[in-house]
């Protein structure tokens, strides 16, 4: 058949792949392969269709066949690129392109593709070498710059030893100065050049570039080049010059970038920073300078009027710094300026944030400032007046002393905020429903105060009052995400997770926001998960929130490549940083662990789940995590001396973070590892994609087992007392059972043989790269050594459920969240026991390994656990019924300002939500008891 005819037959395969009909693509490939069994392209396309239909094992076979042929055709390479990406085999992709390029060294496009394959795999050293070679061969400047930035990226890579970094920057420097065209032809090349000079502290050279006309022009139009320039000048100690430059910009160009004002301020006090010869002279000099700066800023204020607040704020900053340096002469100036600032911008929301840094005052000034704030009229006829009042309230609350934070005083405050809120509502009554109400902040102040009251009194009714007032405010200001944020926290504290979820969903969190905001709803979410009953809302929420990580790994690399193509060198390190922060996000893996905890209550615990989760968790354990969670978004209006809103409203009063994640990973990896037959050698053979880089900052000399058993006091401090008890129990359980697991676990060869058998059954091909010994692969192998002596369970294990029973009794009088926390941790402890004892379930295993003594102590623990869990379950279901009674409803007291029917409606919703979660957790426990009786 002619090539044209073959082409014609291949086209429908592409069409099928493009439209996602993988099945018909496979059928079409099979048909063609009958006639052309050796055709690489058809094989590659079939491999792609297989990967896309999740048939990984079958795809692997074809994939390896094609790779062995060392393809060079563009079509095959492109198809294989998608196959390998789908399989996570970036390293193989690099090899494939390198082989192809070696065969056709004059093919520029292949060179570019090989370079990009290395970029995607973060192989900066090879990337640099390829780019250098390409530059020599094809004489294009951009390849030289690719080579330069590859060296820079290698230097920045966490795995590059510090000692080599300077060498790499020097190499980059040598290459960039060898460029036939100067770097200033293009702002991004210039940016790259400057950052290298900055790293190597080659200030004179940088100065020469920056002082040239072209250099100046670039910095005047490119914010990013100007950013590097600023940094360079600062590091070189050119603070005064920078100040003069900034002054000129402010004076002549009307530049109002705050960075310029800061530069002027830094220059003003510079003579005091650089250890002066005599302090007195320096102070005198500084005072003169400060006076000049004051004149400059005052002129700005006069010029700008109310159009721009930079001048006034700069005067404030000047005075604050003068005080810090002991050169302020006017004791009243700071408060004068604060009052003036308030008078001029008090009608803007940001006034509070702007002035907050200046509110730490001496006692006389403090009194004056408070008196000023108290004199702000509390009647208002316009939104401007209202905003002034709100700002005054915020400042007054912010500066409260500990003596003023009592239940009585907070109650009085909350009443005032609520009253003013009601009075202010009519001001916004004409606004469209899409607008925010100007009075919203009063409700946020009230919400903050109710939460403070709840902390002071431990009375949940304060939370309920907060909820009803905030719900009311939301009917007036439908788009206020700030109100929703507080409601989410309040509902979780009230044990009404479904209501929190409703508000979270109404905020339409999407894309990258899942990473920064899903903590609102998913932190310690297994406490509320009803997955055991088959209700998967929260488990699904976990999975949905992790979609963004998939898009990151699929897309961000493409944009790095695009930035190379477009020569946007300033962006490349930023993109790589972004990719890394998402890929190794703390929230990502915290959600992973929460989801695992839910999954184990829902799916039957089998060795398949255990093996898969084990591999994933081990990868996570090797990561350095970045915390991208956004807590600043919560509107905190708490006194300066108090914890902020986030800290006050953390579920169970404990933050979840690196320590929490590390501890739970230790617990589960250790349990799974004991229960699993996969040891490292087996895992290595069965792993399909590339092994992720180990970035965790751990002691490399420690073995994994040592790292799993390590106890970090700082980490343990972040756990609740109940979680801590769980962790101790888990540790004792693992210590106790370890010798029996190690003795019973089949040898690696046997495990591999079994895996090979399964693969062959599934795909018809043997597992590659595994030699199975002819004998000794059977299960019932005889051992040379005697089984370890059976020991009684340690007390931490034997008594754990008894203690839980007592603990459950204790928390009955506490908040619903505490009750659920203890109940779900009891459930988790039982499931962990199931995982740890799974291996010893088959009677044959027990018999062969002579472990009947061990199994009888299991029975004892299991029976004890089940009886406790049964009691907890019954208690929870009883409590759910109790929630529904009208007696209980009376406990919810709303605010007198609100319509009682409205309050009743909120109460009903809270009660229903609580009822649902109590009942669900209770019933779920019941199910687990039956499943693992």
């Amino acid at each position: 058949m002619s090539t044209a005819a073959l082409d014609r037959q291949i086209r429908p395969i592409y069409d099928a792949l493009d439209t996602g009909s993988n099945k018909s693509a496979i059928v079409a490939c099979n048909k063609l392969l009958k006639k052309h069994p050796k055709n690489e392209l058809v094989k590659a396309l079939k491999a792609l269709a297989l990967v896309r239909s999740q048939k990984v094992e079958e795809s692997l076979v074809l994939c390896d066949e094609v790779l062995e042929e060392k393809p060079t055709s563009d079509a095959v390479l492109t198809a294989m690129m998608h196959v390998l990406r789908g399989l996570g085999r970036h390293n193989d992709m690099v090899t494939m392109f390198e082989e192809a390029y070696k065969q056709q060294p004059t093919n520029e496009e292949l060179g570019v593709q090989t370079f990009f394959a290395n970029v995607r795999a973060n192989h900066w050293k090879s990337a640099q070498q390829i780019a250098t070679r390409m530059h020599k061969q094809f004489q294009e400047d951009r390849y030289l710059y690719w080579s330069v930035i590859s060296s820079v990226l290698q230097a920045k890579d966490a795995s590059t030893p510090k000692t080599i970094r300077t060498i790499l920057y020097k190499l980059a420097h040598r290459m960039i100065t060898s460029s036939p065209t100067p770097s200033y032809l293009n702002a991004d090349r210039f940016h790259l050049h400057l950052s290298i000079l900055s790293e190597l502290a080659l200030f004179d050279e940088a100065r020469k570039l920056l002082d040239s006309d072209v250099g100046r022009n670039i910095c005047a139009t490119s914010l990013s080049c100007n950013e590097v320039r600023r940094e360079l000048w600062k590091r070189q100690g050119l603070v005064r010059e920078e100040g003069e430059r900034a002054e000129k910009l402010i004076r002549e160009k009307g530049d109002r970038n705050w960075l310029e004002f800061l530069a002027v301020l830094d220059a003003t006090f510079y003579c005091l920073v650089i250890s002066p010869t005599t302090l007195e002279d320096a102070k005198k000099e500084c005072a003169t300078k400060a006076q000049e700066t004051r004149v400059l800023f005052t002129r700005v204020v006069e010029e700008d009027g109310c159009k721009d607040r930079s001048g006034l704020l700069a005067l404030l900053e000047l005075e604050k710094r003068a005080r810090d340096h002991g050169v302020s002469e006017e004791p009243t100036r700071l408060v004068d300026l604060m009052e003036r600032y308030f008078n001029e911008t008090g009608d803007k929301v940001c006034c509070f944030e702007d002035l907050k840094p200046y509110t730490v005052l001496g006692s006389d000034e403090y009194c004056r400032w408070i008196a000023f704030l108290e004199s702000v009229p509390s009647t208002f006829s316009s939104t401007d007046g209202l905003r002034r009042l709100i700002n005054a309230y915020k400042f007054l609350r912010h500066s409260l002393s500990s003596l003023e934070i009592t239940a009585d005083m907070e109650s009085a405050r909350v009443a005032l905020y609520a009253k003013k809120y009601m009075e202010a509502l009519p001001l916004g009554s004409d606004l469209p429903t899409t607008e925010l109400q100007p009075a919203d902040d009063l409700v946020l102040l009230a919400g903050n105060t109710f939460i403070s009251l709840w902390k002071l009194t431990e009375d949940d009714n304060n939370l309920f009052k907060a909820a009803s007032l905030l719900e009311f405010a939301l009917t007036k200001s439908k788009q206020s995400f700030l109100i929703r944020l507080v409601l989410i926290r309040v509902y979780r504290l009230l044990g009404a997770p479904s209501l929190a979820l409703e508000h979270y969903r109404a905020m339409h969190v999407k894309q990258v926001q899942h990473d920064t905001l899903s903590h609102l709803i998913l932190s310690r979410a297994s406490t509320f998960s009803l997955a055991a009953t088959g209700e998967l809302t929260l488990a699904t929420e976990c999975l949905e929130s992790t979609q963004i990580y998939l898009s990151n790994s699929q897309e961000t690399g493409d944009f790095v490549v695009r930035a190379f193509t477009g020569e946007k060198y300033s962006q490349i390190p930023e993109f790589i940083l972004f990719e890394d922060r998402l890929e190794n996000s703390l929230q990502r893996d915290t959600v992973k662990v929460e989801h695992l905890r839910m999954r184990l209550t829902h799916e039957p615990i089998t060795s398949d789940i255990i093996d898969m989760e084990l591999i994933e968790l081990k990868f996570i354990f090797d990561r350095t995590h970045h915390d991208n969670r956004d807590f600043d978004i919560l509107p905190s209006y708490q006194p300066r001396i108090s914890p902020n809103l986030n800290e006050l409203t953390l579920l169970l009063g404990k933050p979840e973070g690196h320590g929490w994640l590390a501890t739970f990973l230790q617990v589960y990896i250790r349990a799974f590892q004991q229960s699993s037959d996969l040891d490292d050698t087996v895992e290595e053979k069965l792993l399909i994609g590339d092994r992720p880089k180990q970035t965790a900052d751990c002691d490399r000399h420690l073995s994994l087992r040592e790292r799993l058993c390590e106890q970090n006091e700082e980490h343990l401090k972040t756990l609740t007392s109940d979680e801590l008890a769980f962790v101790h129990y888990a540790g004792a359980l693992a210590d106790w059972l370890e010798p029996y697991h190690d003795y019973t676990r089949p040898p690696p060869a046997a495990v591999l043989a079994e895996a090979a058998k399964q693969t062959e059954l599934k795909t018809g091909h043997p597992l590659k790269g595994i030699d199975i010994p002819l004998n000794g692969a059977s299960h019932g192998h005889k051992k040379d050594e005697e089984p370890p002596a059976v020991r009684d369970p340690p007390e931490l294990v034997a008594k754990h459920f008894e203690k839980l029973k007592i603990r459950f009794g204790e928390v009955q009088s506490k908040s619903p969240v505490d009750v659920l926390h203890v109940a779900t941790l009891a459930q988790e402890a039982y499931l962990l026991f199931i995982i740890e004892s799974l291996r010893f379930k088959p009677a044959s295993v027990v018999k062969v390994n002579k472990l009947s003594g061990l199994v009888s102590s299991f029975k004892c623990i299991r029976n004890g656990a089940i009886s406790v869990l049964k009691e907890i379950s019954a208690e929870l279901i009883k409590r759910a019924d109790l929630e529904g009674t009208s007696e209980h409803r009376k406990c919810f007291v709303g605010l007198e300002e609100l319509d009682p029917d409205f309050v009743l409606g909120v109460a009903k919703k809270v009660i229903d939500a609580r009822k649902k979660v109590f009942e669900g957790i209770g019933k779920g426990l019941g199910r687990i008891i039956t499943t693992y009786a």
Partner: protein, 183 residues
């Protein structure tokens, strides 16, 4: 008082106070990265001294021949930082870069016909309506604001390369085109 600096990829972790507002859309990461990988100099952020983001602008350069211009794709300011002339300053930067670096003939943007506050502001900055684009904001039927709700004004401001102001016209509001006639 605010810091004007380049928009960086990691700003996506920080923009919630701006993007949770209903008037600002949060796109997939590819959207932001595609702008940054091509026109990083047309994307900038205004930031408070505390490091909190106040607003940002994303722009691009497009068109051919006399239509070569800078385009404002997204301009947004967090609710708590409105009425502080932040938009004005970000626009000034975008215009300067469109003029001096890209040598465009004009800068343009689309705005909902009902958004009189924004239209007034842009007019104050020297923009004028070039044409009205029908159903630019989706054709979900005519809402409360009538046609104005879904139609957009394409507003333009000539740059130094267009001293004769050929890229604008006085009767733009009457020039009506359909959504697929514009890019």
């Amino acid at each position: 008082m605010s810091v004007l600096r380049p928009f960086k990829a990691s700003d996506m972790f920080k923009f919630n106070n701006i993007n949770l507002d209903i008037w600002t859309e949060t796109y997939g990461i590819g959207f932001y990265l595609s702008y940054l990988s091509r026109w990083p100099d047309l994307c900038c952020v205004q930031e408070a001294p505390t490091g909190r983001m106040m607003g940002y602008v994303l722009g691009k350069a497009e068109g051919s021949n006399a239509e070569w211009h800078g385009h404002v794709t997204a301009l947004t300011v967090a609710p708590e930082y409105r009425r502080l002339s932040l938009a004005r300053r970000m626009m000034a930067l975008l215009e300067m870069v469109s003029d001096e670096i890209y040598k465009g003939f004009f800068v343009d943007l689309f705005v909902r016909c009902t958004n009189t506050v924004a239209i007034d502001m842009y007019e104050g900055l020297g923009y004028s309506v070039y044409r009205r684009v029908r159903e630019y904001y989706g054709s979900l039927g005519i809402g409360k604001g009538g046609r104005d709700e879904e139609d957009a004004f394409d507003m333009r401001k000539p740059l130094s390369r267009d001293p004769n102001r050929r890229s604008v016209r006085p009767n733009g509001r009457e020039m009506i085109v359909s959504a697929h006639d514009v890019s």
